[in-house]
Symmetry: C2
Subunit: 339 residues, 2 copies
DNA sequence: CTTATTTTCGCAAACGTTTCCGTATTTTAA
DNA sequence: TTAAAATACGGAAACGTTTGCGAAAATAAG
């Protein structure tokens, strides 16, 4: 362990007191310019790196933000993380990242781990299983700045960032209707999720406005096993009264649909049109290319980080008030919805 | 700040000394079972969370592993991280994750940030720009356990995990040859990368063995701008002497190829067969489905974490010796290579 | 019953910073 | 010329934990 030099040793080398060296390095006004120069150059020469534990213990700050996501193999969340990291890195913050794998028990454990000062703030998107939010309330009550994005938790009075789920789903559904769809199904994971509810509302509104029937079997609640989902979708597509359009609330269900129709006589878009919330760059390369509702993932991440770091560094100027900030998605029309 | 209770307060509540409480919580043999029970139940009741700064300062351990990757929007790296996290979480380790965005300057800054004890170990895949490795040597000399995966740095005498790049590229190229390809191109990012070199060696060996010509223009060195890459590939495909097969060293270049041929009269696989190193789950849904060399990403991540945590917890039993451990890839043949 | 041993616990130091406070020196003001 | 103020630095405490050492109480041995 070639452990680096510490402040005391550095001070001894300079024949100065540790307090003086500390102040010099922190650019205190009570240290002369000359001394500062000497200290800084010696620190560089000896490659002095301040111990973050000691500093953290003293200051009670970790310069670290925890990010909790339900899934990593997912372009949306990956882009959000890139957005967060961009801002965080520029401000000298580090990122602890946790994947709950859509498992609320894991989510609880992770949240508990964050109660000891390891992170200065938390930004998260809840798992699809999360209905009891007591662990999140505990985190909030601890006083840790906490914000949600995408899959938000309305019970916690803090700032949340989402996209215009209702409007996008409404517009997307309307697009299918304009393309001639009469029987439109809605694919979702967990009904409990905020995004599911909002997107379903948008879908329902468009259906109702067009005077179309709303078949109960067309609201398909899927899970997290791809194989099962493909089976569920296949069952629906082979039923007596099969849909001619699909609005998918998440990317993976659109892909499951592609798998489901593969090798069958059902053709997209002729027999079945499909639009999906999705952030994959491969949408244009699918067969046929997939019409998507693309979320502003990077922007969401950036905004989360800006607000959080603002709150951490200038608590007077930033407040995590109980509000939902909406950043609109873009609908990109491709071949899966136009014949 | 409803900061939690600390050890001293907990001890006062129990009318015990802090040292006793500490030992009780750490299951020391010198504390009676009865006292341990009391302490533990009171700690739970008051939701005591040990301060990690104090502990880290005392023990000089952070229980944190830093992961440095060159790209986040990439299924391979996402899967590796999932693998690392699975093992790490089970052992109580946290993950600091950094994305270099293929930028060696960013890589250097990040590596420098890790010199102060923020992480107990580092696992990384170098950026495609990394040729000067002095920053990595400094990290290594600090005594921080360091291992590489996929894009390794051979200059550092530590353990590295890779897939069988040479053999997979050889087999993949041979597969194209068996399918009748005579003029096979190789698509790569940065020539400096370990994986590029190995995969190119495998490709070359197969070409040579089959007695095929090795056109210089068929070794296409791309960069990180998708648009440019599509242009480069398009130029190659429209040239006089165009290839009838492509081996792509990375997923993104295979996708760029799909984009390049889109809307042209070149058909895959009739006019052009393509195989690529790739870990996307969408390979089967592309048009046509893409033959892939799929890397054991999750396993690689798990093995990295197992070794690293082993080294951290039982230094006597684990050694980070200078070796390269190879975990084989799987070739999955799909429509892009069979007519 | 005395002595030796074990069990159980408390005291205090240490980890490396930052910062409150005090002090010696220099500069400014009267 | 003297008092006041500004400047530049040192000493020491504090952050919350773990652990070496010592000591009291309980038990075992003689």
């Amino acid at each position: 362990m070639a452990a680096g030099i510490n402040l005391k040793e550095l001070a001894a080398e300079l024949k100065l007191a540790p307090s003086t060296v500390s102040r010099a390095l922190n650019d205190s006004y009570e240290i002369s310019e000359e001394t500062k120069r000497k200290v800084i150059s010696m620190a560089e020469k000896l490659n002095y790196q301040p111990n973050q534990f000691a500093r953290g213990l003293r200051e009670n700050k970790s310069k670290t933000i925890a990010v909790i996501i339900p899934e990593r193999i997912n372009n949306f969340f990956a882009q959000v993380m890139d957005g967060i990291e961009e801002i965080a890195q520029a401000q000298g913050y580090h990122l602890l990242i946790y994947n709950t794998h859509e498992d609320v028990d894991r989510e609880k454990k992770i949240v508990n781990l964050l109660l000891n000062g390891r992170a200065d703030a938390v930004v998260m998107s809840v798992s699809s299983q999360t209905s009891d939010v007591s662990h999140l309330e505990k985190l909030y009550r601890q006083g840790l700045p906490l914000i949600f994005f995408d899959r938000i938790c309305s019970e916690i009075p803090t700032t949340k960032f989402i996209t215009n789920d209702y409007q996008s789903a409404y517009d997307g559904t309307k697009h299918l209707i304009q393309q001639g769809c009469k029987k439109i199904a809605f694919l979702m994971i967990s009904k409990e999720l905020s995004i599911t509810k909002e997107r379903y509302r948008g879908y329902s509104a468009a259906i109702k406005e067009a005077g179309l029937e709303k078949e109960p079997a067309f609201s398909l609640n899927c899970n997290h096993c791809d194989e099962e989902n493909i089976g569920l979708i296949r069952d629906m597509l082979w039923s007596e009264n099969r849909p001619d359009g699909i609005v998918s609330a998440v990317e993976k269900l659109a892909l499951a649909t592609y798998h489901a129709v593969k090798g069958t006589k059902i053709r997209i878009p002729e027999d079945l049109k499909i639009i999906s919330f999705a952030n994959t760059t491969m949408a244009g390369l699918l067969n046929p290319s997939l019409t998507t509702i693309t979320q502003p993932a990077i922007t969401i991440g950036q905004e989360c980080a800006k607000l959080l770091i603002g709150k951490l560094t200038k608590p007077k100027h930033y407040e995590l008030i109980d509000q939902v900030i909406t950043i609109p998605s873009k609908i990109i029309i491709r071949s899966s919805t136009v014949a």
